[in-house]
């Protein structure tokens, strides 16, 4: 698998290195979207025979929805969600007790923040998938949300189903949706602070209990070679 595609341009992923598979149907679809939205289409990515990603500029987010429903006849609203690309500072929390108790807060090398298919340069990214039952195709739209202004305009007037999904994204990530009729909590109790699905939100269940996987096989009496357990 080649590393993630660069921001600009369309790269067709060559799954098997022999022949570069071309997926005409999805490329035609991409042409339609690019023709309609013009330069608002910042990036795109096609996995042949599987899916088409299109990243649009935040301003054209509502226009993309209207075009998908009208031009592409994507009347089926599948889902809308968000991705927080910040690498998690807690890792798998397996050694959290260990590192705090024994090594103090060790500074793991903060891995570089990458973004997935069709690129993306901000921390938060909203993604939505809409499909067409009549024509049998589906498109995954993505848009970047700059860190200082976490607002995207809502899809509710176009797809009524987006109501609950946007409420969930607002609650879990903190991205608010301009024009949403009823932005309240959907899962969490009313007085819940913080946005759980953000990567910097700690998963408390794992920090409270010591990890049973820590190897504490005492050394051989008198051997005293490596202090910690073997087979780490």
């Amino acid at each position: 698998m080649i590393p993630l595609s660069s921001a600009e341009g369309t790269t067709t992923d060559a799954l098997d290195d022999t022949v570069v598979e071309r997926d005409e149907a999805r490329e035609a679809l991409l042409e339609q979207v690019s023709a309609e939205l013009g330069d608002a289409v910042i990036g795109s990515y096609i996995r042949p025979g599987d899916a088409l990603w299109v990243r649009v500029d935040r301003g054209a987010w509502r226009a993309a929805a209207e075009f998908a429903k009208g031009g592409l006849q994507c009347e089926f609203f599948d889902f809308l969600s968000a991705i927080d690309w910040l690498p998690s500072p807690f890792g798998r929390d397996m050694d959290s007790q260990e590192d705090i108790a024994v090594h103090g807060k060790e500074d793991k090398d903060a891995p570089v923040m990458q973004s997935g298919f069709a690129g993306g340069d901000t921390r938060f990214q909203v993604l939505a998938r809409v499909g067409s039952v009549s024509r049998g195709h589906a498109v995954i739209f993505k848009t970047d949300v700059p860190d200082d202004d976490l607002v995207v305009d809502t899809w509710v007037p176009v797809y009524a189903g987006a109501n609950w999904h946007e409420r969930e994204v607002w609650e879990m990530f903190g991205l608010s949706f301009a024009g949403h009729p009823h932005l309240t909590h959907i899962y969490l109790p009313g007085d819940f602070e913080g946005h759980p699905l953000r990567k910097d939100y700690p998963l408390l269940a794992r920090r409270v209990k010591p990890w049973p996987g820590i190897v504490d096989v005492e050394p051989m009496p008198g051997a005293g070679d490596d202090e910690g357990g073997d087979g780490e």
Partner: protein, 167 residues
């Protein structure tokens, strides 16, 4: 057959069911007196075959619920051939599975490289106090007798049948 109105057909179904239950017995059994046999592969409780366990901690690391607690110490085992170097082996001090946390997913049994953990279809180990649900090494050993032998596979399968070490 003229279309019997739905209401009458419904009555017929329940009456037929009553006759069938009276004739060849109900489907349910009276639990404490008659017990239904779970299938041999049912995941009732985990049994530990201590000889195979080398305290490699793989199961307690892979367990999603963090409910396997292992403590072991090293000791010098006599060399296999005389004149050979004494081998360093792990002796198991504590191997507890906390069945109040366990969700019976079977990752530990599957991931154990030395086949020390087995499933038994036993399901009657409920306790009054939740603390008693932590089965220690000896209790897990006792479950070993109830482990059924692995069944033969269906025709056309290439998997080989594993054996259960009898203590």
């Amino acid at each position: 057959m003229p279309k019997v109105p739905g209401l009458i057909k419904g009555l017929g179904v329940t009456f037929g069911e009553m006759v069938k239950t009276l004739r060849d017995g109900p489907v349910t059994v009276q639990y404490p007196h008659v017990k239904e046999e779970p299938t041999p592969r049912a995941r009732g409780v985990i049994a530990l075959y201590e000889e195979n366990c080398t305290a490699c901690m793989l199961c307690s690391r892979e367990c999603p619920d963090w409910c396997i607690y292992i403590e072991a110490h090293k000791y010098l085992a006599p060399p296999r051939r005389e004149g050979g170097k004494p081998r360093q082996k792990n002796a198991l001090d504590r191997f507890d599975i906390d069945f109040s946390l366990c969700m019976f997913c079977g990752i530990c049994v599957e991931v154990c490289p030395f086949e020390a953990l087995y499933w038994t279809p036993e399901y009657e180990f409920s306790e009054l106090k939740i603390a008693d649900l932590i089965h220690d090494k000896s209790r897990l050993g006792q479950w070993m007798e109830t482990v059924p032998d692995f069944e033969a596979y269906e025709a056309g399968s290439e998997a080989k049948v594993k054996k259960v070490p009898k203590p």
